[in-house]
Symmetry: C2
Subunit: 233 residues, 2 copies
DNA sequence: TGTATACAATATGTATACAAAAAGACTGTG
DNA sequence: CACAGTCTTTTTGTATACATATTGTATACA
């Protein structure tokens, strides 16, 4: 991939991290990345620094850059923090949005709905990311947005995992998520902060349930487990 | 200043931004900075990228790096956001702190108390910064810490301004702040999250009052204003 | 006098070469 | 066979030279 602009390189690396093509904890090689994007190492290193600043990577002196990890403590912290930040961001977005931003958000939601109706789960997760990042921009609060964007990185990466096996039950959940997006847009349009908070918390509950169902799936059928138990005894 | 390590350069730039020696909005020149620190432009540029990622600077393509601004909207957002983030960080710190971190915090507070008793206001503001940054580390929450550290940058810069003219009233406020620090350490030591929140909000009220008193000082004596009013009528 | 354009000066962005540090392979010894 | 130490290889960090973009200035023209 020769002669790619710096910004394009930045975006693609973000994308590949969000899609989990670059797995958490994975070590990145400067030379090969630079060759891949048709850049020299100098600008590529600056890109890595920026990605680290945004929470996509962690860089250690003389040890290279690795994709931000997603261990158990990370997930625990994520579940603890996300609803509060999401809710506050939504309230601020309802209060501070501009008209142009609302149009952008509606377009992003149209794309999300399109992806879900076509059953393209990975694309839907990325559209969802963009949707919520736009709400972050509306909030006009650089402090909270820093937290939000870090949360969204992990949220999207988790979604990449749990959206994948799209059974009929998961499909209906995605439909509900899309409806909640529409409702949230209405609340933001009406500048109704309290409603935006409430809808956001509902949206979060849905998302959390989906993730939890993946992490703690239904147990195996009993007759299969029985043999294993007999061996153990 | 020849042959300064990269990390030292990073720290000094942070320090000079927090002390407002590098004023908000000020444009930084790569070449002169590199010469000043005895580095070449390549590593210095990486440092600037990192500082931008941490919220100290903002970088625009082909336009150089400028110190993060502090305009009216920034301050409004700051006052809106700080108490919530501070309170939550304190609660998490009380819940998740380690023994070693508590010792560090006590040392930082000793330094802060020392600076205040000596009347060294600028140094006190920096010690205060470090004190609260350590509480952030205790919280073990990278999402909220990103917000906290950005808040602390602006908080410390505001303090640099309003701590300066240290009248007797300001001195007593600083003493109270130091006592609140001690109380907060006790709460964190006892792992009392609710108490930590309450103390943090009190601490915030004190800080906010100080800043507001600086921004909206007592009006001029009436007899001086009288003449002006007569002219107007 | 105001404005537009060309040109010069300055600053930022990129590529390459080299230095330093970490990781890995090899060999000798217990 | 395990292990320590040294050498080689690989990777990261830095300096310099050059390319490109922006800014400032002078001059020509309306």
């Amino acid at each position: 991939m020769p002669r790619v602009s710096k910004e394009a390189c930045l975006d693609e690396l973000k994308l590949r991290i969000l899609r989990m093509e670059l797995e958490p904890g994975m070590l990145l090689d400067e030379a090969s990345l630079a060759a891949h994007f048709g850049l020299s190492r100098t600008p590529l290193r600056e890109i890595l620094q920026r990605l680290a600043g945004d929470g996509y990577l962690s860089i250690r002196e003389n040890r290279g850059a690795k994709v931000a990890s997603m261990d158990v403590t990370t997930m625990r912290t994520f579940f603890q923090t996300a609803p509060m930040v999401y809710a506050n961001i939504s309230r601020l977005a309802a209060e501070n949005r501009t008209g142009a931003q609302l149009s952008d958000l509606q377009r992003a939601q149209a794309e999300f709905a399109n992806c879900t109706s076509e059953g393209d789960a990975p694309a839907a997760a990325l559209c969802n990311h963009r949707f919520h990042a736009l709400i972050g921009e509306m909030a006009q609060n650089p402090y909270l947005v820093a937290a939000l964007n870090r949360l969204l990185i992990d949220h999207t990466r988790l979604s990449q995992t749990f959206y994948r096996p799209a059974g009929p039950r998961e499909a209906s959940l995605v439909t509900r998520a899309s409806e909640q997006h529409d409702a949230l847009i209405c609340a933001i349009d009406a500048r109704d902060g309290d409603l935006a908070i409430e809808l956001t918390l509902q949206h979060w509950d849905l998302s959390r349930d989906s993730i939890e169902r993946f992490v703690r799936p239904d147990p195996l059928p009993v007759d299969l487990v029985a043999r294993k138990e007999k061996d153990a005894v």
